[in-house]
Amino acid sequence: MKIVVGIKQVPETTNVKINEKTKNIDRRGLGGVINSYDLHALQAALAIRNQVGGEVITLSMGPDDFAVSLQETLALGADKAVLLSDRAFAGADTLATAYVLSEAIKKVGQVDLVLVGQQSVDADTGQVGPIIAEMLKVPQVTYADKIDAFKDHLVIDRKLENMEQTITAKLPILLTATDKANRPKYTNVVEIAKSFDKPIITWHAGDLDLDEKRVGQAGSPTIVRSISEPQKVAKKNHRLSNDPATAARELVDILKQKNILTEDK
């Protein structure tokens, strides 16, 4: 099975700063890590490869320093990596990102399964996977919790708010992985050195069959007007009476006042 895994490098979440001017994440001097959901997607891909055979290719669109994350995926067991790096890709929104990724997946060719994370932990939209599936015209299953692979089909468990599903799906397909899909392994320290024997291929805009109006800033219809941290609201204490019956009545009154409880009509 030929599997492509989308890998996004994100800043370490503890020190994310937003550039007030560009409304973009200020990446200067930040340590990057692989988006945590993508590690689950990769782990799932490796397990499937080990079960039914095939090849795992990791794919990332981003600046050259994302290559570290791709190298890390090779140390974790991926067979090869592709970096999509070009100034023309800068400023992409989810649509333009998904467009370039889907064209790269086409160029890889004969891909049976695309695995991405359920969402990124920095921009958090969860849109890239589903858009890629639409662009590639393949079916998609989002929020995959468990994936069992067979020669020509997959069985996927997913949990939604009000139901649990088990889906049998034919290939080719795109899945987005949750953090319940598996427990990612730690990078093996000795495998780091060995990973340099495997290739990271860089594709620039010119290497792909792209419509330049659909790439980067030009291909991004969304604009961030403002971005800010949510205001912290101070917690308030309210002491209820000691007598349980009175306290219960007081509590119900407060909840009604706040429209949390409403009168049954």
Binding site: A67, V68, Q71, N188, V189, V190, I200
Partner: protein, 374 residues
């Protein structure tokens, strides 16, 4: 792509995540139970953390001294004991790499991936003055017969391979490598130490252990040189452990002082508290610079003995003092066994003794300063 830089970044990402998820949450439990809970010993083998600095030709990852020290620093921020267990193993590997003959390297270095190696000099008669030891080896035919008693060995009981200092003549010190599976090898008493309680520190007894010529580390009479070299390598890594302890102290006090209030004001706004926190940060950064410089000198094949001694001598007292300040910032909670500060003081205190007492290190530093000017 710069392969060294990329490898280092991937390693440190891994170690950071490993420490956050597998080590730090168990810090208190390791201290209280005096053992590596959470299956940590298996985890450091499975991830090959044990092979971080083992040369590639023996199956290791081949990281340099600076990277190895930074990795130890990161782990120590989560738990100092585990960092010292790794330090003990790494400094022993270093000596076999530096002084071992090819047969010895071929036999033991590949095993270092999964079997911990320890380094033992101290005896009941004392640690600071090696010529006072009683263990000895006798040349019989093409074999050496080793007898003696070694105590206070870091990873003693856990380690499976031991580099042992013995006398090969009344005034002649030499090192041999022995294996716990050899006939005549026995484990003795475990120490009941105050700090670094996760690290087993114990005794080995050698009763007519017979080894081949190849088990002689370096040459006959090189005992002092090899011992000094091991101290130097250990001290660089201990500087890293001490930095990690002070980072841990800073993690605790900055969080506490930001949230703890004196009536309405967070105590971090108070100058007396600020001064303590600033002093811990200065000591941490100074120790870090010292061990990094020592490691850099080592990687660049220059003398690092003095900087290594400084990192440990300065870092150990600083970490103890910083722990004391941290305890004060936490008030009564700082004095509680249910909070981690007290064990950080106990942990740091060990490093004023192990790998040469601070008195011995200051002697070395003073003599090097004089020699440089002679």
């Amino acid at each position: 792509m710069d392969q060294n830089k990329t490898s280092k970044e991937i390693l440190l990402r891994m170690v950071k995540s490993f420490t956050e998820n597998e080590v730090a949450p168990f810090d208190m439990e390791i201290d209280h139970t005096r053992s590596y809970v959470n299956d940590l010993l298996n985890k450091i083998k499975e991830t090959d953390l044990l092979s971080t600095m083992l040369p590639k030709e023996y199956g290791g990852a081949g990281f340099d001294g600076s990277t190895t020290a930074e990795m130890i620093n990161e782990i120590a921020r989560g738990n100092a004991s585990l960092a010292v267990t790794l330090e003990g193993h790494f400094k022993s590997i270093d000596q076999i790499v530096k002084f071992g003959n090819q047969a010895l390297k071929d036999e033991y270095l590949p095993q270092a991936k999964s079997r911990i190696i320890a380094f033992s000099m101290t005896e009941p008669s004392g640690g600071s003055n090696p010529l006072g030891i009683n263990s000895h080896a006798k040349h019989v035919g093409d074999k050496w017969i080793i007898n003696g008693d070694k105590i206070m060995i870091t990873n003693g009981g856990l380690a499976e391979i031991y580099c042992v200092l013995v006398k090969t003549a009344p005034e002649e010190l030499s090192f041999f490598v022995v294996d716990k599976d050899m006939e005549g090898f026995e484990f003795g008493k475990q120490e009941n130490f105050l700090g670094l309680t996760g690290v087993p520190v114990g005794e080995i007894v050698m009763n007519n252990i017979e080894v081949d010529e190849s088990h002689l580390l370096g040459k006959v009479g090189m005992g002092k040189e090899i011992g000094d070299s091991a101290h130097n390598d250990a001290r660089v890594l201990m500087g890293a452990v001490l930095t990690g302890i002070m980072e841990h102290e800073l993690d605790i006090v900055t969080d506490y002082a930001t949230h703890r209030k004196a009536i309405d004001t967070p105590i971090i706004q108070m100058q007396g508290i600020q001064r303590k926190i600033a002093d811990i940060a200065i000591a941490k950064e100074t120790t870090k610079l010292l061990y990094q410089k020592a490691a850099w000198l080592k990687d660049n094949r220059q003398d690092y003995e003095e900087e290594a001694a400084m990192a440990k001598a300065y870092g150990s007292r600083s970490a103890v003092k910083s722990g004391d300040d941290a305890l004060q910032i936490l008030g009564g909670y700082g004095y509680s066994l249910d909070y981690p500060v007290e064990h950080l003081i106990r942990d740091a205190r060990a490093m004023e003794l192990a790998e040469g007492t601070v008195e011995k290190m200051r002697t070395e530093i003073a003599l090097i300063e004089a020699k440089n000017r002679a």
